[in-house]
């Protein structure tokens, strides 16, 4: 348990450190994910503890967004002043992104399955 959690932290730390050192504007946790994947690939397996810790974190992923969401209380003035642009952009862009992504996925999948 503890070792698995430590491994996740170490990978994130390595990712953050590499981003700082290289001066690239790339998110540390994503690099951490790539490092984690590299570690697993080298080991050739994940291990039951790592699976359990990762699954617990990912199963409760929604909870982790709550503290940031409550921040809405601080942004109410800015949001109220720009509500139309914000709602329009979030709704329009999210629906459009869903449609484009699923359409391209299906189109390419069909194209390769029918040579």
């Amino acid at each position: 348990m503890l070792e698995a959690l430590t491994l996740l932290f170490v990978c994130q730390l390595a990712g953050e450190a590499l981003v700082r050192l290289s001066g690239l504007s790339f998110p540390g946790p994503v690099l951490g994910m790539a490092i984690m994947l590299g570690v697993i690939a080298i080991a050739g397996r994940t291990g039951a503890n790592l699976e359990r810790v990762a699954d617990t974190l990912l199963k409760n992923l929604s909870l982790l967004f709550v503290p940031a969401a409550v921040g809405v209380i601080q942004q109410i003035d800015l949001l109220a002043a720009n509500w139309l642009a914000v709602i329009g952009a979030v709704v329009g862009s999210t629906v459009l992104t869903l449609i484009v992504t699923v359409y391209v996925f299906r189109a390419v999948a069909r194209a390769i399955s029918r040579p």
Binding site: L8, C11, Q12, G15, S25, F26, P27, P29, V30, G32, M33, M36, L37, I40, A41, T46, L50, E51, D55, L57, L58, L61, S62, L63, L64, F65, V66, P67, A68, A69, V70, G71, V72, I73, Q74, Q75, L79, N82, L84, A85, V86, A89, V90, S93, T94, V95, L96, T97, L98, I99, V100, T101, V102, V104, F105, R106, A107, V108, A109, I112
Partner: protein, 239 residues
Amino acid sequence: MKGRELYQIWVYLAETPLLWLTATLIAYVIGERISRGFSRHPLANPVIIATALLVTLLAVTGTPYPDYFAGAQFIHFLLGPATVALAIPLWRNRTQVRRNLLPMVAALLAGSLTAVASAVAIAWMLGAPREILASLAPKSVTSPIAMALAEPLGGIPALTAVLVVLTGVLGAVVVTPLMNLMRIRDFAARGFAAGVASHGLGTARAFQVSEEAGTFAGIALGLNGAMTAIIFMFASLFL
């Protein structure tokens, strides 16, 4: 006398991180229970319920957000390790991933660009100032990544965090009816779209619908984090 004692207990507890950490967990547990009570109807989203409860509680007690966050930050912090943890389902499903590699790469490129460009274009047409545009641009990726991307472009990280959650909740609510309407029955494609458009909250929703959809959503969430970061890296060269 009684009231004064209660007030002293409140003052003491309000100063420790325990109070708001616990309040966040309780609010979420309530949100989860309600969501399950409505058999996971997309509109009964646990994040919406928990957030509404906590915002009301902060307003009633007159607690400033930084005081709340001092406790809740321990939950927020776990977003980083959770992002790293996405490597595990990615590895577990590597054969499926390899089989769908080409559709995924194409859909990721198209979806990622659409998410950033359409959000900025729509908000710009509706007259939003630059700080809003920069805060909106990374809205489809998970919050630690989005916040890190918005800041150098002149965005407000705290606003980005809120917009990210708004996008996630909306995606989670809309994805199932939209995909049914489009008559898409490929759960890999449906899940992947949910992950690209609405990150972790879309992924959480996808896992409720099917294991396959959830897996592909998780992969999309990780890949879109990386892809959006790359788009921003190139964009920052021209801005």
